[in-house]
Symmetry: C2
Subunit: 650 residues, 2 copies
């Protein structure tokens, strides 16, 4: 094989012998495809794409059947489950021992299935994320270690969705010229739709080519052109004339090892292994690949945080989280940040400097494409993808976020501009149901820290969250006063929920809150304590982590008696989990309004005063039967009150 | 004014007098704009767009300041709050009495603000929906009654989002040549991004023109070309040279009535009123405008439903809902259906016949654009927009759905292919957290009917839901057995939740479910009743409607004693609302899997057998202290069991 690594993929010169191999394999693949149970239209698309994909696999793709997941392999992405039979056919023909693979292959069944099938367009975005990860790793380690491409077998529907068109813009902006998409028109759709898709990709800065899907020479020329392209490429494979029905190949052809193809891949991988063994950054590369950090990372990060905290002890959670991301990026070179314009709320421009320096790639307002790319970066490996975007844009990113959770990918999100404070633009920009909708998603951890100190603990817990993606929801305004732990505190934010403060003896009231509302709860607690009530203040920055704590811990934090009050500038949906059926929720039952922040909080009754009134009214109602008045009850009388305040919660 | 209605907008021939009016008004508008508190970039965009918008308002726009919401007005859509000062300036200059309008105008403050500001691109989609509604109403009533246009003052960010690009495709496919978008490049962004946007719109079948934003003659020519265009138009207003700073106009110029403009609008409206008065379909038109139906509608619809029910009494909720939509479209001509390809799950093609006949417009896989268009159709008035799409695509439509809820727009959704049954494509297609995420949204009503009979009641309730959008979540498979009301039933599906059946005396177990799981609950209930337990079966098709029932009704349905069990093939999030803290939830704690439907239900333990086991295990644990065995307890011994089964729920 070629000794210069960059030429691995450009040696695919055509020869009659090579062509014969491709055509034989194509014939065998078509036979395998006919056994796939697919609709007529899908079958037609599979047959159209068979020769181009076979040529790609035989002559171009960096793929070693023996080690299908080696790091410098080409990524071959199949966004739609309908197209997976073609991947199954390729694996069966090239990989010894893969003969038994089901034609309806699925994510998790073979390492060559790079992503789970998802909504149209998600695979395009994931592929762009892989190409971006490749670009970043190549910049870090050089082409001798990182020299692969990302190929996508797309359907026309993948090209026409909004997320695909956002991805097209981002791929062009980032110069992802090692990304190539192969697609064919759907036989059922209007051909003009497909042409329009090609034109839109061209308009987005892509190299767009049409090729006769049944002409091997033209296909090889087109694939060679892809290898030389300076832009991301879309290769439209047009079924110009109907292919001849393949003769049934002999049994040995179907099960043969297709050794030339396998030998090519194996040879490329072994020469890569030799280069890796001699590479001076080998240890770093392998650590990145495993997603590990240096063993001193935790300690170093803590030191940097403490420095930050000393300089801005009363900063907002957003400031603190950004500082944490900056220092994380200093300590871990695999951190890769994509930031949407919405995260720099003061401006709408994509070209303003990001608060994380050069480590962040600006993604403009293409948040959905960005979120899909983060998934691909995580699946690629070697990078730790972090997305930064405005809290309200999470609605747009939801399909992509779900794919991250479904694939249990380690993707970190920093969502900025949470809270009611940024209300100049009307109610449309104030989150209401977003928190509940995120907490309902399996495997996702949602953190909503109250202050800079909690942000540190949440950042660390999010980084170590083992199940899938994690997000920090951040407020740009510092809390009006310190909310840190006081007398009677118990546990800490890394447990998901903890006691900030609690008096001695039976609790009358437990105020629970998250994020900016913890400061309000603390203030309300002070007022109520002045009334002689025994008040506990609980911060629950992360429901998912708190729910995983032992029951005894949760009980100690939430208490077993007294009135429970939940405070969050959001929908009440789901809060019964912590409040029981008798608790009070103080939050938003409607969309926000345009007004200064304080006025919005007042409109929804999320103020210390309103909370105290609600609590006292409820206690008065409970205590009325005993003739007690809650207005300034003396501590001694409160002992009498206790029984009436105790609400049985089995 | 012109007597032929279609020439209303084409009489804007240029003359020195007209030009002088526009230029004077432009000068005044610029002065008003300088008082708007906007960033430098926004201010620059406002100034760039000032002359084109002023020319539009003075010479083209069908707008009567005296009656700004008359039905045949041009729609002038401002998607971004940042651009509203220009609308405020136009209103202040043209409308007597509008001088006190705040420059930071908002939705709800003036009828000329057609939509609430939302995420980038939503306004584009809403405008396309308005243009589609205009097209449909013009087809129904003719150009003498419906002859207006939709104008959008967009920003570059509105053009670059995925939803805008999906909208561009749909607007072109539907031939919305009465939609025109005016936009200018952002001074902070790369000019190439704006050019790419223009190219993408051109590739989507739009007419794209560039015009010097400071050349009135060129602007008037371009606007005239828009009036003649056979495609949707994008007019890019380029600030070719810096405008001269306007002299401060005299006070009377700022507050003057700009009578020529106002007179033009008033004259157009009055001639329209004369045509309406003589129109033979006047009553229909006015009823459509008020969103009312004929007073016999309810009865007629019921009759058609009963016919359907007789022919397919055991059909799926999806079949029933489609039949209901078909008959609704027969009875109400204002019903307008947009259907995504995902709603016809057997095929991916946009060109297949829809199950609703010619009444449905096919929207392919551009679900997000479609959802945004539904909002615009609702805001336009005269049509009742119904969207049909696959359940899983709701994640993509979420930003648009939220705008409908925020504007309390009457938009109906039919979401198909709910449930675990369609699992061939892997876990990504099985809803898990979607139900919770939708129930958390204010003003939205989510219906999940169990059977054809419930579907009828839910359809009617959804149609009358007063707060905003409503959706029916539908399963394509008929329930395995009848789930209708039996002995002890109470209430009905139109109450949101009701008792399907209940024995006499103290309840031991209340099984609650929705949708396809009601049949499973019914079966489990039969098994448990055979064990001598007193079981109540509750169907909760709509939480929002059920929560609005009187507390006494809810208590009668849910019962006050016994074990509560929630059964839903979805996330448990939020179910504590009905289960309390001691209930059992049977559902999904993870994403779905690929397997035949029955296997998926078994994997998650959502079977009658597994539910019975869980219930008996819990009752055994509760009863253990009393030495009771729940295996086949005799009815007499159950009386003893009662106390231990009674779980206090204050």
């Amino acid at each position: 094989m070629a000794s210069t690594p960059s030429s691995d993929q450009t040696t695919a010169s055509s020869s009659p012998m090579h062509d014969a191999l491709v055509l034989r394999m194509d014939k065998a693949a078509r036979t395998l495809l006919t056994s796939a149970t697919a609709g007529e239209d899908i079958q037609a698309e599979l047959q159209t794409m068979c020769l181009p994909i076979t040529a790609l696999w035989c002559r171009i793709l960096r793929f070693d059947p023996a080690v299908p997941d080696w790091p410098d392999r080409d990524r071959y992405v199949v966004p739609s489950a309908a197209m997976l039979p073609l991947l199954a056919a390729m694996l069966r023909l090239t990989a010894p021992g893969a003969q038994e693979l089901s034609p309806t292959l699925e994510y998790g069944q073979h390492p060559a299935v790079e992503i789970a099938a998802g909504p149209a367009g998600q695979g395009m975005a994931a592929a762009a994320g892989m190409a971006l990860a490749e670009q970043q790793l190549a910049n870090r380690y050089g082409r001798s270690l990182v020299n692969h491409r990302t190929w996508v077998l797309a359907r026309d529907s993948d090209l026409a969705t909004g997320v695909a068109l956002e991805t097209a813009q981002l791929a062009s902006r980032f110069g992802l010229n090692r990304m190539a998409v192969l697609a064919c028109p759907s036989p059922l759709a209007d051909p003009a739709d497909f042409s329009d898709s090609l034109a839109r990709f061209h308009a987005s800065g892509w190299s767009v080519r049409k090729v006769n899907a049944h002409d091997l020479g033209a296909i090889m020329n087109a694939l060679q052109a892809v290898l030389r392209a300076r832009k991301p490429t879309l290769l439209a494979c047009i079924p110009a004339n109907s292919p001849a029905q393949p003769d049934m190949p002999a049994e040995d052809e179907l099960t043969g090892p297709w050794s030339p193809t396998a030998r090519r891949g194996s040879s490329i991988r072994r020469s890569w292994l030799r280069r890796l063994a001699q590479h001076r950054a080998r240890a770093d590369f392998e650590r990145d690949q495993m997603g590990r950090s240096r063993h001193t990372m935790r300690e170093d990060w803590g030191r940097l945080w403490r420095q930050t905290m000393r300089s801005t002890p009363d900063g907002s959670s957003q400031q603190a989280a950004f500082a944490g991301l900056r220092s994380l990026a200093l300590l871990r070179q695999d951190v890769s940040i994509l930031a949407a314009t919405s995260s720099t709320s003061s401006s709408r421009s994509a070209n303003l400097p990001m608060p994380f320096g050069h480590a962040a790639q600006p993604c403009g307002i293409q948040e959905h494409g960005m979120a899909g790319m983060l998934n691909g970066m995580a699946r690629h490996g070697g990078v730790l993808p972090c997305g930064v975007a405005g809290m309200m844009t999470i609605d747009r990113m939801r399909s992509a976020l779900r794919m991250a959770a479904l694939m249990r990918s380690k993707v970190l999100y920093l969502l900025t501009d949470d809270g009611l404070a940024l209300s100049d633009n009307g109610g449309g920009w104030q989150p209401v149901e977003q928190l509940a909708s995120l907490r309902a998603m399996p495997h996702l951890a949602v953190f909503r820290p109250a202050c800079a100190e909690e942000t540190f603990a949440c950042w660390q817990t999010a980084l170590n969250w083992p199940e899938g993606p994690a997000m920090l929801i951040l407020c740009p305004h510092p809390p009006p006063h310190r909310t840190g732990r006081r007398s009677g505190h118990y546990g800490g934010p890394s447990h998901g929920g903890y006691l900030i403060s609690c008096g001695q003896g039976l609790r009358h009231v437990t105020l629970m809150a998250s994020g900016p509302e913890v400061a309000i709860a603390t203030l309300a607690g002070q007022h109520l304590a002045e009334q002689g009530l025994n008040v506990a203040i609980v911060s629950i920055p992360c429901w998912e982590v708190f729910a995983q704590q032992p029951a005894a811990y949760r009980t100690a934090v939430l208490g077993t008696e007294g009135l429970r009050v939940g405070i969050e500038a959001a929908s009440s949906f789901g809060w019964e989990r912590w409040l029981g059926t008798d608790g009070i929720f103080v939050g938003m039952d409607d969309f926000g309004i345009s007004a200064p922040a304080n006025a919005v909080y007042e409109r929804f009754g999320i103020t210390a005063g309103a909370i105290c009134q609600k609590v006292l009214a409820r206690l008065l109602a409970s205590g009325a039967q005993k003739g007690l008045s809650p207005s300034a009850p003396s501590p001694s009388r409160l002992e009498d009150l206790d029984m009436s305040l105790t609400i049985t919660r089995l």
